[in-house]
Amino acid sequence: MTVEDRAATSINGSSDLRVRRRFRPSIAATIVAAELPETARDSYRYGEGIVKFGWRMLFAATALAATALVHAHHSGAMFDSQKTVTLQGTVKTFQWSNPHCWIQLLVQRDGVTQEWSVEMAATTELYRSGWRPHTLQSGESVTIVVHPMRDGSAGAQFLSAAGPDGAPLGKPKPVNAS
């Protein structure tokens, strides 16, 4: 039984694996909650014992890890974080905006052009990652690695990008780079 399963059992009070798996996403968020270090210390102080304290710390680690699912602006639930897809295409537009920047990417597949909406972070996060409003230009060829939408639509969450020369985009060039 994994840590997540044990945590789910704790939350749902059930040993039914199906229930536990069904509720696993809720651990990711609602019960993210559950116990954090301060709370665990409170529990210890209020006499719940070192064993429970240890368990709660373990549970806290699970909950904290689950927090990684949270997106800056919204839940990441619509993206399949278990799938990574590489898209090669041409930039239609690069939208520098909040709450997200977007790359509208034209991808050729089987003779058909499909337009993808690739969601990025907000302008501040991109700026801090070396991106600028003109990092991408319309018509530019680019390779983008993404987490695709769960529903199969042509949308995705941005992970990384490289230009035609294979160099990663958005990284400031070293001072001594030629």
């Binding site: 939350i11 909650a33 602006h73 537009t93 709450p99 997200h100 909406s117 972070a121 501040t124 990652s129």
Partner: protein
């Protein structure tokens, strides 16, 4: 007539001198006693989410999503809310920090202190301002005033804050906060309009601000709840960049977040 004219001239000159007067030596001394918190700061979750994809690559450090020490009555309600599919979906499926369909409580205190935010702290003798990049501004009045009384006070998302300096620590007292969830990441955990917040904010090293936040709520909590929030100095931004939500392309359709065309 001449006397009246001279009197008028004297009054005008005197008035202009008052308005043109520089800071009094008393105010300058008061400024000098205050800590230097200039620069930009960010919450722990903001630091983790600063990637081009916006996704945290390390475990989160949210503090306000813990289990509040509810009294027996509200513990039952809290547990029921945790089991409520709609409450679960509010985080797992439809969580939004701004824009259309985002709940009002995302802009409330103390959530904004534990949400993805970059902010500036402006310290003056009369008040300290927390200016958040999402637009919220906390006014912490340090001019020895009390909270408004009676009908002059009503709940608002940020509440009413007054403070004082205990050495280099800013002690903030906040009341009259709109009832609702403590954190946008934990909508099941709500506070009443009687919640009382005490913060002790201080610099613990050159690049870290600590906010020890204690929440009391006689209507809901069995005992005070204290969390430690830490804010990190932002070293890779040289200016404050406001965050608007002008191009929200993530509508909620059929209970799911989706992507709208540009």
């Amino acid at each position: 007539m001449i006397r009246v004219t001279w009197l008028g001239v004297v009054l005008v000159v005197a008035t202009s001198l008052v308005h043109a007067a520089p800071n009094s030596s008393q105010r300058v001394r008061a400024f000098a006693r205050l800590p230097d918190w200039t620069g930009l700061w960010e919450t722990a979750i903001s630091k983790e989410l600063t990637t081009p994809g916006g996704r945290s690559s390390t475990p989160g450090t949210l503090k306000l999503v813990g289990h509040p020490p509810y009294n027996p009555e509200w513990e039952l309600k809290y547990q029921a809310a945790l089991d409520n599919p709609a409450v679960k979906a509010a985080v797992t499926e439809t969580l939004k920090g701004c824009g259309r369909d985002a709940p009002a409580y995302v802009k409330s205190f103390p959530n904004i202190m534990d949400a993805p935010m970059v902010f500036q702290v402006v310290v003056t003798p009369e008040e300290t301002l927390f200016v958040m990049d999402h637009g919220e501004v906390r006014h912490i009045y340090t001019d020895h005033r009390a909270h408004p009384a009676g009908d002059d006070l009503w709940p608002t998302p940020l509440g009413d804050s007054v403070g004082h300096w205990a050495g280099q620590t800013l002690v903030i007292d906040t009341v009259a906060r709109t009832p609702g969830p403590i954190s946008m990441f934990s909508p099941a955990a709500e506070l009443s309009d009687q919640a009382h917040f005490t913060e002790r904010v201080r610099l613990i090293d050159a690049n870290t601000l600590e906010d020890q936040l204690t929440i009391e709520d006689p209507m809901r909590l069995a005992h005070p709840w204290t969390v430690i929030l830490r804010f990190t100095r932002v070293l890779d931004l040289t200016r404050f960049i406001p965050y608007e939500c002008e191009a929200d392309r993530n509508p909620i359709e059929n209970g799911k977040l989706t992507i709208a065309p540009p």
